[in-house]
Amino acid sequence: MASPINKKVLQTLAELARLELQEREAGKLLQDLQKILDHFGELRELDTDEVEAELAIDETRKIFREDNERKNTDLGQGKESFPAKEDGFLSIPPVF
């Protein structure tokens, strides 16, 4: 069976995942992914028609917090790690 992943699909996936790939790494990555996906083929032999998808989720209980007023997250320390800032705001290149 032809692999569901080829050079073009890989390029699309990389764009969706926001990853710039160099030509050389893309070639090796494609080979690896084809081999890994081929290995996954073994799952097709298993009949899972009877398995309730719900089985995959354990009994859970909902956890709510009290609906009280809360102090906002302190941005103080988070802001320290902005690579570029102006007037306390994160500075980024134009969106468009």
């Binding site: 990853l19 320290e80 790690s81 690579p83």
Partner: protein
């Protein structure tokens, strides 16, 4: 080497109480030894000068006659994907090279309350993705028993530090075996607790439905002490459900109860490809446990062989989502060597920063995860894997109807050579084949050395898996196993 190298958590607590040494003295000796010996070993990514003050505070508390925490003054190593406020947390990734944690992880808060001292942050495979610590974005870690071999991974820095006596004990994280596999390779004890037993707040997430933090230690008793210190609920992690453990049962297991446990040996774990030394080691462990009266039974976990494929679909799916937050902006204080100097727009910047900041394995898993979740392939891969995962869990439920604990090998082979598996990701993935099922089922599992490793030999470990929240069973069996040596 310093005089405190053989210290365990238990031994340290006693020595401190008896005033054989001060916490400061021990911490200084460890820091000095790290400086001297870690250059070649590579267990640590960073060392904390604050450890000196923390140890001093423990001595002061003792001098004042204050109530000491259960880990008061104990020098520990922490895997570098766990946040300590004010200290770097890189997850061994270049994209987080300069990230300084702005808060303490849930487990760090608990350890601080218990009085622990943090010597430093240990090396790992980038974002905990790997089985050899070779995927670290910074440097290799060597196996203390053979410098030509890997320490295992992804918590290879933590297990190497403990095995080389560069920390009394350590914390690691385990998504598919990342505590147990390196523990087996380095000849130390590693426990992956039940999913939900320990808070993951402040653990840099890899696959959230599988990740769990756990102890790495020289003895089972130490692993139990460290587990008790970090377990419990945390409002910042809703999966930490605060199960009511019986601490006494875990700290001082009842021999009568332990020897009456029935242990199952699943035949699917003794497949072709199992190294002879590993098979012999596991058989020797079984014989030893039989000698104290533990009963053994052959059981079957029929879907075991599908666990690897299932895991390598579910985990990357979660990885692709969890790693989306790393865009080279939010968690970087300086982007000089990663960043793209003149990005046209924001997208351009993301593509470049992520493309350069992530290593090959992280990229492989992000792309794989993006693929299995993509429209058209979701059902064939992700949904299928979820269903098979349910079958694997059912296997365990049925086996635990019959036996109390399962005993298996931890890894198919002993520690492999540096570079041996780096070019073939699938062969690297296969080294997790025996540890993955416990993560998919959410059950507790522990890796214990078969015996003391003699000079020139490589360690072998065996794995015990227990029912959900029955850490007491596997720790108890391990505790009495160690007494047999």
């Amino acid at each position: 080497m310093h005089p405190f190298k053989e210290l365990t958590i238990a031994g340290f607590a006693e020595g401190l109480r008896e005033k054989e040494f001060s916490a400061l003295e021990v911490t200084l000796a460890y820091l000095e030894d790290i400086k001297k010996r870690d250059g070649t070993l590579g267990a640590y990514l960073s060392v904390r000068d604050e450890a000196v003050q923390e140890a001093g505070a423990a001595d002061l508390a003792l001098a004042r006659g204050e109530d000491l925490g259960i880990l008061s003054g104990t020098p520990l190593a922490i895997k570098d994907n766990i946040l300590i406020q004010g200290h770097t947390a890189t997850a061994a990734s270049k994209i987080l090279k300069d990230y300084v944690a702005s808060y303490d992880a849930g487990v760090i808060k608990k350890l601080k309350e218990a009085g622990a001292v943090f010597l430093g942050k240990t090396n790992l495979d980038e974002f905990a993705m790997g089985s050899s610590t070779e995927n670290s974005g910074f440097h290799l870690t060597r196996n203390p028993h053979d410098p030509e071999r890997v320490p295992g991974g992804s918590s290879g820095g933590s297990t190497a530090a403990v095995a080389a006596n560069l920390a009394v004990a350590a914390l690691g994280s385990d998504t598919g075996g990342s505590i147990r596999q390196p523990a087996a390779f380095c000849g130390v004890v590693g426990l992956k607790p039940t999913y939900g037993a320990v808070s993951r707040s402040g653990l840099i997430a890899m696959a959230s439905s599988l990740d769990q933090i756990g102890p790495i230690a020289k003895t089972v008793e130490d692993a139990a002490r460290l587990f008790l210190a970090v377990k419990g609920s945390d409002p910042l992690d809703n999966t930490s459900i605060g199960h009511k453990y019986d601490d006494k049962e875990i700290l001082s297991p009842d021999f009568e109860k332990i020897k009456n446990l029935t242990v199952g040996v699943p035949k699917e774990y003794f497949i072709g490809g199992l190294e002879k030394e590993v098979e012999d080691g596991v058989s020797a462990a079984i014989e030893k446990l039989k000698s104290i009266g533990v009963k053994f039974k052959s059981v079957s976990l029929p879907h075991t062989k599908y666990a690897l494929s299932t895991y390598y679909i579910i985990m990357p799916a979660e990885v692709s989502s969890n790693l989306a937050r790393f865009d080279g902006i939010r968690y970087a204080s300086g982007r000089s060597d990663v960043s793209y100097s003149h990005p046209k727009n924001l997208l351009d910047l993301y593509l470049a920063d992520r493309g350069r900041g992530f290593g090959p394995e992280a990229k492989r898993r992000i792309i794989l995860g993006t693929f299995v979740l993509s429209s058209g392939y979701y059902d064939a891969y992700y949904e299928k894997a979820r269903l098979v995962s349910a079958l694997i869990r059912k296997d365990f439920d049925e086996a635990f109807g019959d036996v109390d604990v399962l005993l298996t090998p931890v890894t198919p082979t002993r520690a492999f050579k540096i570079g041996e598996k780096t070019s073939d990701p699938l062969s690297m993935y296969l080294s997790d084949v025996f540890t993955i099922p416990a993560n998919l089922a959410g059950i507790p599992a522990i890796s214990i050395p078969v015996g003391k490793t003699t000079e020139g030999e490589l360690p072998v470990g065996f794995q015990l898996m227990g029912r959900h929240f029955r850490e007491a069973d596997i720790l108890g069996l391990g505790f009495y196993y160690e007494k047999l040596k």
